[in-house]
């Protein structure tokens, strides 16, 4: 069994695949992950702001029915399993990208799966801002918009960075999953060689690379969050 797994032919084939296909796959994975994260933040962060500011006791209360609808939509999107969501949004993907397979096409379902998650993460970060700090801004004549842009968001930057890191690593995992139905990148290689052709070595190599990517994103994110936090003394 073992010598079959590591026979010269197997090793040679694996080396060949790693050399020819992995660089592009890594690039595709990083590219899809980063782009999907950016779009998810562009949609999710404002939504998170609305979730906090629009509450009854928030700085800019919105109608209760609207808040209920938003919360309902987010919960709904978050409860659909990602694989099924991918299939469900095929029509939208086709409308936006023109096709449902390929690296670019996988960005659409990734964004749709990730933005409600990002909205919840942003909501959590923004809620950490001390209500007394917001009251202080109100006492100095700040408008709701000024409180959002000059108090709530800047004060929660370190937490937002930490949560963005969580979002990136989660989206990286989803992007690998998208390899099952047409997405590109390391996920596709792991599926194609590992699952369909029993080339375990290649699958393991792809998984190792995914782990390395997650570690990389996480350590960069943690470092940025710590550097951004001025509450820590002696910095």
């Amino acid at each position: 069994m073992i010598d079959k797994l590591f026979s010269p032919e197997v090793l040679q084939e694996a080396a060949e695949v790693i050399r020819t296909q992995f660089p592009l796959a890594v690039w595709e994975t990083v590219y899809v992950t980063v782009l999907a994260t950016v779009f998810a933040i562009v949609i999710g962060l404002p939504l998170g702001v609305v979730l906090v500011a629009g509450e009854k006791d928030g700085v800019c209360p919105l109608p209760a029915w609207l808040m209920r609808a938003l919360n309902g939509l987010i919960n709904l999107l978050r409860s659909v399993p990602f694989l099924i969501l991918m299939v469900l949004v095929f029509p939208l993907t086709r409308l936006l990208v023109g096709t449902v397979v390929g690296t670019v096409a996988s960005i659409v379902p990734l964004v749709i799966a990730a933005f409600p998650f990002v909205a919840r993460l942003a909501e959590g970060s923004l809620r950490e801002v001390n209500p007394n700090t917001i009251e202080m801004a109100q006492s100095l004549g700040a408008s709701p918009m000024q409180i959002i842009t000059q108090v709530m968001i800047p004060e929660s930057v370190p937490s937002l960075i930490s949560n963005a890191t969580i979002a990136v690593t989660t989206i990286l995992g989803y992007s690998a999953m998208s390899g099952i139905i047409g997405g590109g990148g390391l996920g596709k290689i792991a599926m194609n060689y590992g699952y369909y052709r029993y080339k375990y070595l290649i699958m393991v190599a792809a998984v190792v690379l995914l782990i390395v990517l997650v570690q990389l994103f996480q350590s960069v994110g943690t470092r940025l969050a710590i550097r951004a936090d001025k509450r820590l003394k002696n910095r």
């Binding site: 001390n130 007394n132 700090t133 009251e135 202080m136 801004a137 109100q138 006492s139 100095l140 004549g141 700040a142 408008s143 000024q146 000059q150 108090v151 800047p154 004060e155 930057v157 370190p158 951004a228 936090d229 001025k230 509450r231 820590l232 003394k233 002696n234 910095r235």
Partner: protein
């Protein structure tokens, strides 16, 4: 002038309505340092938040220089709040910004000061005023509590307000720092004529810095007047509880025949070998009859107050006050008793 008329505030809670303020009426003259004192839950914080409408009162009105605050739109109110700024128990600085940026914050909000360089120059002047120019680029986490409150004061003064509201501003500070913050507030009041309203539960705060005081109890004003008067002759039960926390005999304080009363407030007087009152007797030959005393020693410094009966008429009283107030940590004034 701030006129508070028949102010009331009722909160709707799960188990019925809570009346935080009931029919509160106060007049606070321009340039005054006005103390509002009461136990926790007396409605102090609600009252101060009704002045700048952070809380909308359910009845009555707050009129500042002829403008009814309750009648202002949100936008007008935001503008008005630049003139009525506030400092807090928890300082409430922006933790991700430097001291300089914190002081610039209200200027930036107002949009009046377009230029960044101008804002920073003004902020630096204010930091200098509170003695922290060297901390301009430090972050709040790097400062002590007292320093953070100084930054908060500088920030509150940035828009040149007419009124400064202090909500338990010294309650989180140690006695020495409290004294220095109060001294700063007093000097700013003297220099700029800003009206200061101080919310506190500490007698010593009112005694050392306020000219007038209102005692709040159960959402009502129990007593109001000049600090010396109210504290020397507390009429209401609430006032007595505050003035004599150890429980007073119930009898109004009266001078013995032929004596006059002076009230002495200790604000962190360094203890020396001989007690001050004994020294006065030896050095000046003035014998004081201690009719009431409540003092504590913290860190070898004395805090609290005393009522001294002095015989020997006007001259002796004046001499005693002069002697006692040699130290800046002691305040003394004659108490007028009208029967």
């Amino acid at each position: 002038m701030i006129e508070i008329k028949n102010l009331s505030k009722t909160y709707r809670a799960a188990d019925g309505a809570v009346e935080a303020l009931r029919d509160v009426s106060l007049t606070i003259p321009d340039g005054d340092i006005f103390g509002i004192i009461g136990m926790s839950g007396a409605g102090k914080s609600t009252l101060v938040r009704c002045i700048n409408m952070l809380e909308r009162p359910t009845g009555g009105s707050v009129v500042i220089d002829g403008v009814d605050m309750g009648g202002l739109s949100e936008k007008q109110l935001r503008r008005a709040r630049r003139e009525i700024t506030m400092i807090f128990q928890g300082f409430n600085l922006l933790l991700q910004r430097t001291c300089l940026e914190n002081v610039c914050f209200p200027l930036k909000l107002s949009g009046l000061a377009g230029e960044r360089a101008w804002r920073e120059k003004r902020a630096l002047e204010l930091l200098e005023l509170v003695g922290l120019a060297d901390k301009a680029n430090a972050y709040p986490a790097q400062l002590s509590g007292g320093q953070q409150q100084r930054v908060a004061i500088a920030r509150a003064l940035a828009t040149n307000p007419k009124v400064l509201l202090c909500d338990e501003a010294t309650s989180a500070l140690d006695p020495t720092t409290t004294a220095s913050i109060l001294e700063l507030i007093r000097s700013i009041n003297e220099r700029t004529g800003i009206t200061v309203i101080i919310i506190t539960h500490q007698m010593s705060v009112v005694e050392s810095v306020c000219r007038h005081v209102a005692i709040l109890d159960g959402g009502r004003v129990a007593e109001t007047g000049e600090v010396g008067e109210v504290f020397a002759r507390p009429v209401s039960a609430a006032a007595r509880r505050l003035v004599f926390p150890e429980g007073d005999a119930g009898a109004p304080i009266a001078a013995e025949d032929g004596e006059r009363l002076i009230r002495v407030v200790f604000n962190g007087l360094k203890a020396t070998g001989t007690p001050l009152i004994a020294r006065m007797a030896v050095e000046k030959g003035i014998e004081a009859n201690i009719s009431y005393a409540s003092t504590r020693s913290i860190d070898n410094k004395t805090y609290g107050s005393m009522l001294l009966g002095i015989s020997g008429g006007e001259a002796a009283v004046r001499e005693a006050i002069e002697y006692l107030t040699q130290s800046k940590d002691v305040l003394a004034q004659e108490v007028q008793i009208h029967d």
